[in-house]
């Protein structure tokens, strides 16, 4: 027979310390839905985000100063049936990411396919290096 022991539930200090060092803490510390990645080229940026189950009607992308704001809602696709296993999450999300350089707001191209959002952003003209002539 199992008897409840309060000390079983207490955190073992050694475990906390060990997990801090063994788990890659810094790497994915503040991940929020949707997970994303940024590729940087000399005059184009690509932002890619994983968002399975999000439809383009429920997704909005905005450029706010030099940040990209991704906002939307992942709707529950099976609300009224009893479930056996539930691992997926639904709901509203909002995530902003700072871009490495200023981009042209008029030439942003976004595409949502197979659960991946792909945004291409062109570098803004006034962010490009300019040679200054000396008189």
């Amino acid at each position: 027979m199992y008897t409840y022991d309060l000390f079983d539930d207490m955190l073992n200090l050694k475990d906390v310390v060990n997990s801090f060092f063994s788990e890659n803490y810094g790497k994915w510390r503040s991940r929020e839905f949707p997970y994303l990645e940024i590729y940087e080229g000399s005059d184009e940026l690509i932002v890619r985000a994983l968002m399975a189950g999000v439809k383009s009607d429920n997704l909005e992308i905005q450029l706010v100063n030099d940040s990209l704001l991704i906002e939307g809602e992942k709707l529950n696709d099976y609300a009224d049936n009893p479930y056996i296993r539930k691992e997926r999450q639904f709901g509203k999300f909002r995530k902003s990411v700072k871009l490495p350089y200023r981009v042209d707001a008029n030439s942003i191209d976004a595409e949502l396919a197979n659960g991946i959002l792909l945004i291409r952003l062109k570098k803004s003209e006034d962010a490009k290096p300019r040679k200054i002539e000396i008189k």
Binding site: N81, R88, P100
Partner: protein
């Protein structure tokens, strides 16, 4: 999404992603919904053998030209997950659809195990 390492035959270990899954049951079917963003229909492989259903999804590596990965919150590996399947499933009636990165599998229960209403007759 979680990651795991599977042993691939005797040769190598492959790092995979385990797709997040919801399973629902109704009186005549089970439905599974698996999140597999980045997979295309052609790269999906679903095999049911003995009492195991194996789902594989291959990821085509994304590597844009002349661009460096500057920031990343995820790494993509191929997807892999297995489920044990009971004898109450009609194996000829499994349907699969893939939409917005979500794979939906519908497994019909066999007629014999479906709930049946028994009429009461009055004599």
């Amino acid at each position: 999404m979680s990651e795991a390492t599977i042993t691939n035959g005797y040769t190598s270990n492959e790092r995979v992603m385990v797709p997040l899954t919801d399973i629902y049951e109704t009186p005549d079917q089970y439905s599974l919904k698996l999140e597999m963003p980045g997979v295309t229909r052609e790269n999906l492989d679903i095999v049911i053998e003995n009492n195991e259903m194996e789902i594989k999804g291959r990821i085509d590596e994304f590597r844009p030209e002349k661009k460096d990965l500057k920031y990343s919150e995820f790494t993509q590996y191929n997807y892999y997950r297995t489920f044990s399947v009971g004898n109450d499933i009609d194996r000829n009636k499994i349907s699969a659809t893939f939409e917005n990165g979500v794979l939906t599998l519908v497994l019909q229960k066999l007629e014999a195990v479906k709930p049946r209403k028994i009429p009461v007759t009055v004599q």
